[in-house]
Symmetry: C6
Subunit: 75 residues, 6 copies
């Protein structure tokens, strides 16, 4: 508890670095799949089958894990 107070709100995206994810965009259409290589407050860098892709967070609706859907995001 004391530790929680110290940590501030949970950060979910850092836990997904290096994981394969499926990203659904607010624009709908085909989701984007790839491995999260990096991130900053505004963007996520994804390694996809077709190369690196910079995804703006403001365009993301949801992120789910591909390989081990039940083990992701432990909090």
């Amino acid at each position: 508890m004391a530790e929680e107070a110290k940590q501030g709100p949970p950060q979910f995206i850092p836990k997904l670095k290096g994981k394969k994810v499926i990203i659904r965009l607010v624009s709908g259409g085909q989701p984007v799949t790839g491995t999260i290589e990096g991130y900053n407050p505004y963007e996520i860098l994804l390694q996809t089958a077709k190369g690196k892709l910079l995804v703006f967070k403001h365009a993301i609706a949801t992120i789910g894990q591909v390989d081990e859907p039940m083990k992701g995001f432990t909090i």
Copy 2:
């Protein structure tokens, strides 16, 4: 009243932690259903039937409770 003034504006999402919710996205399409496991100022972590799902708040239109629609969000 004095207590309200001290508390600042009501916070609704913390009251939904651990509750089963239905989330409609601004992109329309199928709503997302799951249990809220965590949240921070930008994202909500949802446990769905298919695993964990990170939902960006900016992509959410509405959140309703599934199991006890009349009892949720007491303020």
Copy 3:
């Protein structure tokens, strides 16, 4: 006038608390109807016929009053 300067810009949503409203979302589709029970800088809590519904302000296009359309929002 002096009073206006002191008050800052007009706040419209507080005047709608307890009122029945129709909310149109930026995503289009069916508008949402209910009574505003609470609000904070980011969300509005609505009592609808199907239970409470948390509506994110960023997803709202317009809010109109249902019962007394000509009397609402007096400024």
Copy 4:
């Protein structure tokens, strides 16, 4: 020029207060027509033929004047 520097960037919405406008929303669909009765940093209050309507600025694409399209927004 010195005056401009002192005034900061031009404010367009205050000049439209009391004017009849046509507002197109980012969601597309039918534009909204009415007279601007008030505004704050986030919302515009419109008197429409069907009553008052609160329009969120984030949902607005464009605002044009209805009655005197060539005379509006003098800067």
Copy 5:
């Protein structure tokens, strides 16, 4: 170089003041064409064939120059 550091990031919209532009909106649909008469951090005032039009920046996807597409935005 030293000058760049002093200037901060490049500002593109001021260079378009008085130029005829074509603005595509995030909502899709017909682009808007006109001359940029003014701007502030949130809005752009456009002189179109049908009168003045206030365009919210948050609703803009892209701005291109109409008359001299190769000469615009020199940086």
Copy 6:
């Protein structure tokens, strides 16, 4: 490691300056292709086949590299 801490979060867009990119917009539709000539916190200036184009970041869903998809965004 110490260097990372000093640098703050990774910046991806500066690494794309001068590179040919394909930009998908949140509005869907045809992607925009061009070379990034400049950027600031809100906009990206693109040299396209039809001239310069100012693209608002808030309207961008993803940016990918065109010519050397596997070599872009080294972090």
